[in-house]
Symmetry: C2
């Protein structure tokens, strides 16, 4: 068997995790708010009237209509996948040959690297400058020198929460010969989308998802926005029926009812500011500004904090100390009472140890 | 943009079809029987109690348990995807480098070729012998000469309905250096699975789906059965949350209730025999024996038949005459009254023209 496996795949680690069983789960940047019951019931009514024995719509026309309405991008400039993960897969399958170069800053979203490995590409991860500011100039020079196929900008960035200025995005778009992928998974928590740039920049592709602000991580619905020319290329490698009918139906309901669903954004953003102020006041960590639904900070006590929260049945994301990088914590904002609990425990560790 | 696209992708055609609006749809080998309403309601109850804001189980433990129970393969030997299409994608991503060779007979399932193209592999399609018997000896010699990575056997075969004898399967398994993929999408309509061969043949991988016999094409749930070593490799390239929670929940319900769902198999098989006898009696086509839920025949009147059925609001699959191949028809067995209608129209064309 080993002789048959591709070399580049051998060292990949399978993503095998058990679903966490904790009282408070804030490790995966999910929304703490479930899909409203009234809309679940509407979904159920539709499913009772849907022929599940039939293949789903290959090109999800109803969903495209709603996404176009939501984003302002014409339907021909949109493609959907099973999470933005699948869209990233399609981008790699369409554009990246073995040996091609992909540029991102680091740290950023893990799937860029996993897909670079599957594509047998060379992933140049440009280390952030102090304050976790992406090193734009080095990213540009690396992309140009290596004729990079893809440049990823995660905006806001996972896990640091950093947001790119319009100036930086334009600087990159104007300089690199690559496809620029602006990953806006968390954009609704920030607000400054790059969608208006699509008309000027044919090599810009924007990734989005219903997993975060829409609170629908369970249904796996991601999408890409771009010019028709680039979207048409992604359709070539898209599986014929990549998005099942259940997800299509539910996503349409979510988008049609977005006014009520996205009301939660304000709660999350207010919680983020409160939590940030609380943590700043402790004066114990290096906290980074966040344009997202999570908070990221570095601390020599990171592991201690992680353990203390675990003991209290709370799961956050802990990044081990590596090289010169200190240990760090990322936790998404939960419901207000959950955040209070988390912050109280963090404070306790800071003042009294675990 | 064109300079960034991979060469091998350029000539791929996007699969963009509108969902067909016909009274009788028998072009896609779907089951004519929708998922039972009582089970849809059970699904709805579960969804009302499921947190859709949470990511789905990464490794679908409940589904593995049921699939293991159904197939007799241990859970560690099973992986699921969004249709077997996604499993084929994972196989290619794990094993196929650019320039590698993939062998199948021809005609067979279109996705083998699409994924060979995406992988930039060389797909050797060995033309069937007369009677659409796969040319086993040539397949073996091509696989051996070229050190093929993959050999596909679709059993029963789509579109010809051909079933491989145990002897032929063993002959291939014993001779080739490749991963042998036994695609059993339609196996329930035939009955002679190769699952028992898994213990002896570590390079055997079996593909299955809930799209056909289980009548759940809409939910996109496929799976692979194999030895742990090979399944573990596929897990390396599997997207972290590739199977959404809705599909997982519904698939579990289907498998738990398979005794009642699979009762439809007997109706479909009886309809197949009746339709086959009817068509044989017309004595107008070259009809091929089918181990599946569809019938395949060749006829100089194929296009005429296709058009006559379309006019009657019935959609079947028509394969144009190419090279030395005559035009042909594939239609899946619908409900008994639908089959009667289809057969009557075919008879009419044969006797009186369109």
């Amino acid at each position: 068997m080993k002789s048959l496996v591709r070399e580049n795949i051998k060292n990949l680690n399978a993503y095998k995790v058990d679903a966490p069983q904790y009282e408070i789960i804030v490790n995966a940047n999910e929304s703490p708010y479930d899909f409203p019951m009234i809309l679940k019931r509407q979904f159920c009514d539709e499913i009772c009237n849907t022929d599940l024995n039939r293949y789903p719509e290959a090109c999800f026309p109803e969903l495209l209509k709603e996404l176009s309405d939501y984003t302002g991008v014409p339907e021909e400039g949109i493609i959907c996948g099973s999470g933005s993960d699948e869209v990233i897969a399609m981008i790699n399958q369409s554009f990246v040959n073995a040996g091609d170069v992909i540029v991102s800053h680091s740290p950023s979203f893990a799937m860029y690297d996993i897909w670079a490995t599957i594509s047998d590409a060379r992933h140049i991860r440009v280390e952030d400058l102090p304050e976790h500011l992406p090193d734009i100039d080095t990213m540009i020079s690396k992309a140009c020198e290596n004729n990079a196929k893809l440049v990823y900008l995660c905006n806001p960035n996972n896990p640091t929460g950093h947001t790119f200025s319009r100036e930086d995005i334009l600087k990159i778009l104007d300089a690199v010969p690559s496809l620029v992928i602006l990953d806006e998974a968390y954009i609704e928590f920030f607000g400054e989308s790059g969608v208006d740039l699509l008309t000027q920049y044919p090599k810009l592709l924007i990734l989005r998802t219903l997993s975060k602000a829409f609170g629908l991580a369970g249904i796996r619905c991601g999408y890409a926005l771009g010019n028709k020319e680039i979207i048409d290329i992604l359709y070539k490698v898209k599986g014929p029926y990549n998005l099942n009918v259940l997800t299509q139906k539910l996503a349409v309901i979510a988008l049609k009812n977005r006014a009520s669903i996205l009301r939660n954004l304000e709660i999350v953003k207010a919680e983020r500011e409160k939590a940030m102020a609380f943590l700043e006041e402790l004066n114990a960590f290096k906290i980074y500004p966040s344009g997202s639904n999570f908070i990221y900070f570095e601390s020599p006590q990171a592991e201690e904090i992680y353990e203390a929260l675990l003991k209290n049945n709370i799961l956050i994301k802990y990044f081990k100390e590596v090289d010169r990088q200190p240990g760090s914590i990322r936790f998404s904002l939960g419901k207000p009472q959950d955040n209070q609990k988390i912050l109280a425990i963090i404070k306790e560790v800071v003042y009294n140890g675990a």
